[in-house]
Symmetry: C2
Subunit: 202 residues, 2 copies
């Protein structure tokens, strides 16, 4: 990026902060901004500022929202007695897009990761326990990711709510729909065997 005017260099540096964006791509994005109509660039800059100013966390479930309550918590048709616990808003959106869930959510904003210094106090766990204490909750579906951090988080949640009278379930591990056994890794296949169900279930 040597040779560009300082302001362009600064923009390349700022764009290079994005994860997965190296200097080459940042330069390409900056070039695009340089050529874009001023209105489009202004809209992008405004959009960044507006998101930072107006997007907040829903005080109930910690989903992203620009209103008081998030869309899901504000919807009286959703089942408040079933709470699906996820790590991040992206997981919530993936589940919503599957159309398979009509309950409510709780976003932890992370998963346990002692090596990265992320302990239980960094997750929205106390808020989850408070919520369970405050409302009638029948089932907690733990939908953290199926990796070391997500599993550890799932175990911790199970331990924390053991005394309470609620069912705690974990989303199933298995072969992806449309998948092929010969391309499935051994651990997934083992889980898929372990979690097998009687044919009458389906």
């Amino acid at each position: 990026m040597a040779g560009y005017p300082p302001l362009v260099k600064r923009l390349i540096k700022e764009l290079g902060r994005f994860p997965g964006i190296g200097e080459k791509t940042a330069t390409r994005l900056a070039t695009f901004i340089l050529r874009a109509p001023p209105d489009e660039a202004r809209m992008l800059a405004e959009s960044i500022m507006e998101v930072k100013e107006k997007i907040r966390f829903c005080p109930v479930c910690f989903n992203l929202t620009e209103r008081e309550l998030c869309e899901i918590c504000a919807d009286p048709s959703r089942d408040g007695e079933t709470i699906c616990v996820v790590e991040e808003p992206d997981s919530l959106i993936a589940i919503e897009e599957s159309g398979s869930f009509r309950g409510t959510y709780h976003v932890l904003h992370g998963a346990l990761s002692p090596l990265d210094g992320i302990g239980p106090e960094r997750l929205r766990l106390q808020e989850l326990l408070d919520r369970i204490g405050r409302n009638q909750v029948r089932e907690l579906i733990v939908a953290t990711n199926p990796n070391v951090q997500g599993e550890a988080t799932a175990l911790l949640i199970t331990k924390l709510v053991k005394e309470k009278d609620i069912k705690v379930t974990r989303i199933a591990l298995g072969i992806p729909f449309g998948g092929d056994l010969k391309y499935t890794d051994r651990r997934t296949l083992a889980k898929s065997m372990e979690f097998r169900r009687g044919m009458k279930d389906s």
Copy 2:
């Protein structure tokens, strides 16, 4: 991106305008902005606005600059009698980084591309001719890209300055330094043979 608050959706849409950035990547970038410290996001937004407000074209060579004249045109040690004609500022920067040129530049801001509706009037050609008329120019090095558009542009420039008393040269085509003949495409290899030089030249 269904499920995100409207402001976040708008940001994803704005980021998705970048070339080569699909909805998935745009969502990842938006998530990063959501999580970034407000100061960092503000700096990015400001940087975008500042670039659009303050970066202009050098009135002599049409390079990008934030001052009256660009760094190169303002530098009295550069050889104004040799002008290297490039398509875009990126080409100029690539040549500068090679450290192989001490003359001045002329940025066309494009190449002839009749299919895309880019005719001679869309390029900074008249400005190049005016500049040649105004100043003493000895050599024009045409460094447009070695593809159909760049070659057509190079031919047009040669035609336009035919009457004037200047040498017009074209950058050499050949095998890249460190390249391997067996991985070189046929056209490059053919050009490399055509442009061969006596060993004493080097």
